[in-house]
């Protein structure tokens, strides 16, 4: 297969680390891709594939390790939005680079067993922060629906939240992502089966609609969240809630992500924790 105009230039072989979530896309037969966005610390590639993540972030050490990312050991190549690339057969071809993964990390590490009593004690320490959709009706609906296990309310709220807000990852999506990851991770860890089932329904809704309702990058991150995959900052907060780690510093680090992304994710986590507690308690 030839890849645009770069194909005949000699490639520089570089290596790095990749989220294990990217593995199926990386190991599938090679597919064309194009540069969706390019920042100093990361380049987003949209891959022509039905697999998820269909958007892959090629990042440097400064960037957040998103669950769809591949961390480069060296510098990013100079590429522009629209440039062609390719992903598959174990390699990412981007600009003059041919990138191989030399290590995998787990984007959804298990949390072990969590005592609901401990979770109840930790929940208030998440704090409120200043999320982008503070006081928004759909968020309130989502929270209420989750806490009561009212599925229709949850799904209605989710449809309204998807793509809601400005930017590459709209606030509504971040809230949903935080919620999904929490329901999956802490739900399983606390043995709250209704929370895990709720995650399943919510994941199905999100997976069905994401590609049409929000930006491609945000859609991919929602797909990842639907599987319980997130960035280390979110994982650390979940670990903090599980009592494996001090909570406050982890929350502090999460809130520093993006413009409001960190606070939005934290808001979703808080809704998730409340749901795990109330649904778990309800048996």
């Amino acid at each position: 297969m030839t890849v645009g105009t770069h194909a005949r230039r000699p490639r520089t072989h570089v290596t790095g680390a990749a989220s294990a979530a990217v593995r199926p896309v990386l190991e599938a037969p090679r597919r064309p891709a194009r540069v969706l966005a390019a920042f100093p610390a990361g380049v987003y590639l949209q891959v022509r594939t039905d697999l998820e993540p269909s958007v892959i972030a090629v990042i440097t050490g400064e960037a957040t390790r998103l669950p769809n990312s591949v961390l480069l050991a060296g510098d990013l190549p100079h590429v522009a939005v629209g440039d062609e690339a390719a992903v598959g057969d174990g390699v990412i071809l981007l600009g003059r680079l041919s990138l191989h993964a030399r290590r995998w990390w787990a984007p959804a590490p298990p949390l072990g067993r969590v005592d609901p009593a401990r979770l109840r004690e930790a929940a208030p320490r998440l704090g409120a922060g200043t999320p982008g959709l503070a006081g928004d009706e759909a968020v309130e609906l989502l929270a209420a629906g989750c806490a009561s296990g009212h599925l229709l309310g949850v799904l209605t709220a989710a449809e309204r939240l998807m793509g809601l807000g400005p930017g590459l990852t709209p606030s509504g999506d971040d809230v949903l992502a935080g919620l999904l990851v929490t329901l999956r991770g802490l739900g399983a860890a606390a043995g709250a089966e209704r929370a895990v089932r709720l995650a399943g329904w919510l994941a199905a809704t999100v997976a069905f609609d994401a590609r049409t309702r929000t930006t491609p990058i945000s859609a991919t991150l929602l797909h990842c969240a639907a599987r319980g995959e997130s960035c280390p900052e979110v994982v650390e907060v979940l670990r903090g809630l599980a009592g494996l780690r001090p909570l406050e510093p982890a929350v502090h680090r999460l809130r520093r992500l993006g413009h409001t992304s960190g606070s939005d994710l934290a808001q979703g986590i808080a809704i998730g924790v409340a749901a795990v507690l109330s649904l778990g308690a309800a048996g």
Binding site: R102, W104, P110
Partner: protein
Amino acid sequence: MTPTDMVLVRPGVYHDSVALMRVSRSMRELPGVEVAVVAMATELNLALARDLGFRLPAAGPGDLLVALRGGDLEGAAAELDRRLALLSGARGREAGEQSPLTTRSAARRPADLVLVSVPGEHAFAEALDAVLAGLDVMVFSDGVPVGQEVLLKRLAEQRGVLVMGPDCGTAVIAGVGLGFANVLRPGPVGVVAASGTGAQQVTSLLDLAGIGTSHVLGVGGRDLSAEVGGLSTLRALRMLDDDPATELIVLVSKPPDPAVAGAVREVVAGLSTPVVTAFAGERDLTAAAEEALRALGRPVPAWPCWPARPGPEHPDGPQGRPVGPPRAGREESRGRRGGRLLGVYSGGTLCAEARLIVGRGEFTDYGDDAYTRGRAHPMIDPTLRLEALSRAEPGDVVLLDVVLGHGADPDPAAALAPALAGCPATVVVALVGTEDDPQGLHRQAQALARAGAAVFASNAQAARYAKDLP
């Protein structure tokens, strides 16, 4: 032009031996250079240079020895300076920045783990710095006195840190391969290993079966001796037990000292995570991997193997997938049978396992201290094993291991394949690695099989196959 000798001693200039070996090798490729020794002036290296006929001035192990023979030595010396400067530059010193000269100093910066690979007689200071700074440490170096090991591990116990090693060749922490390690997918199996290649065999097989690894914690070959008392093994077991990602623990070791075995059993009994043991002689590594799969409720696959298929006219198997297990004795006979069985190994545990399975023959572990003093490990430098291959005779069976992964030869088949093709013996290879390894399992397997070797991903299967060859 008649060749002349040039000998220089640079007092107090230090580079590590592997870096210098690379420089030496690249110097020999320069036009006009016939012999090039660029090495620290240890007794061994001085003797080596003397054997090559160089007349040497007094020099000590802290000095850099340069011995060149050839036509254009002035040019070569200038080039050498350039290459050595590159080595120094690669240490990453910025203007005004002081590179840390000790682990103690480096530990002022944020870090989670220290990897020590300085010569064994000096490893204690660096490892101690790590322990005192409250950092976990992997001591890759060998030749560390056992008393120092005991002391380090006792201090580590007090400070709540883990000492992996000394002589710990392999560790994997959350996917990060340290030393000789394979590229493994994340997963539920945690390994505690007194043997690096043993851990590599088990985790590679599990990876081939689709089961990932959480961590591999090496403990060093002496940890389960009476002297050391299994301090690191016990700690590593507890750490993996506390790790939410680890659902099953595999303990790879020689059979422990009886007193230590009791302590290990006691700790294992108290863990909430199930433990599969792979004590050499009791259960081979492949059987341990299979036992781990069963414990996880996963099917045991047929382990990949690649029959010998010499000759360029043979196409690869479909999509490079392994083609059915070869049966011993089917391929064309290469001369009289009944010759010797030679085990030419780089991994000590793999060597011992194969020796036990075959039950006869001459087995040599070229990774042993006796062969690695003053030269790189056979996983990096194939020279000694290539020499051993060249001594094989028609009718012999040669069984050897090729270990892939981080730290190993970037393309072992490149050097081995020509040697195999020219080898009159029947060659069986145990190829330890994963598809994601830098060298690529299938690529290596096919190159070796094309060169005439029967290749197995399981060392135990390779050994049984070699044993059954007529």
